[in-house]
Amino acid sequence: MPDLTDLLFYGFSGLALFFGFLCVANPLSRSPVTSAMFLVLTIVSLAGLFTLLHAFFLAAIQVLVYAGAVMVLFLFVIMLLDLKEEERRRFRRFTVGAGVIAVGVIAGLLLQTVLKAVPYSPNTTVLAVGATRPLGVILFTQYLLPFELLSLLLLVAVVGVILLTKKELK
């Protein structure tokens, strides 16, 4: 008899895969806006999976940063570009066939590796709990330098984006 966590796992992973499929290969709509909305739903389902893995902080970050900030940026750019033409273009049979073959090979390899791996029986009494406090402690002690470098990276990204989107590049 599966308990509630397992039911939630199957529910969230099914939803994530279903929405992910609709994001990349929606049979009804070619529109990038539809893809973006399904990507938001995929990300929210993944946040549910993170919660099941007791990574509460990351689940919150996933919703705030990914589903919030990043996808809003995506939608802004889609609206800015006005991609009417995309909806008229069809999938080309050759590209889809090549894609299916390539993806099938890689997915087969990865799945075989995962399924053949020695069944890992973790010590179920000590599982990691990614609450905010322990994660914050490790982030500000052991990973302090990468954390500070990350702020520099974000600054560089901000400057670069402003430079790239200026009307005339000098």
Partner: protein, 101 residues
């Protein structure tokens, strides 16, 4: 069946394959970018699952860094797409065949 590490890894592999398929089969730059995001998220899921079942928080810190770098990467990539659209009026990979703008 109880959800174990392998279950999470299988979900991660399938999600990664979906993202890869999006990158290979779609022709719109923005949708290709979304496929990339899907692949990143699949890798994040694998990292969090490993972190949980090894009782080790380093994996979650790694995911934290990945999400931040991905945010920076998305902003720069979208800025490039906007700049490209200004020059060529298209976001379709088949129309972008020359190196020189």
């Amino acid at each position: 069946m109880h959800a174990t590490l392998n279950h999470y890894l299988v979900v991660s592999v399938l999600l990664f394959s979906l993202g890869l398929f999006g990158v290979l089969a779609r022709r719109n730059l923005l949708v290709i970018y979304m496929g990339l995001e899907l692949m990143l998220n699949a890798a994040n899921l694998a990292l969090v699952a490993f972190s949980r079942y090894n009782a080790n928080l380093n994996g979650q810190v790694m995911v934290f860094f990945t999400i931040t770098v991905a945010a920076a990467e998305v902003s720069v990539g979208l800025a490039l797409i906007v700049a490209l659209y200004r020059k060529r009026q298209t976001a379709h990979v088949e129309d972008l065949t020359s190196l020189k703008l």
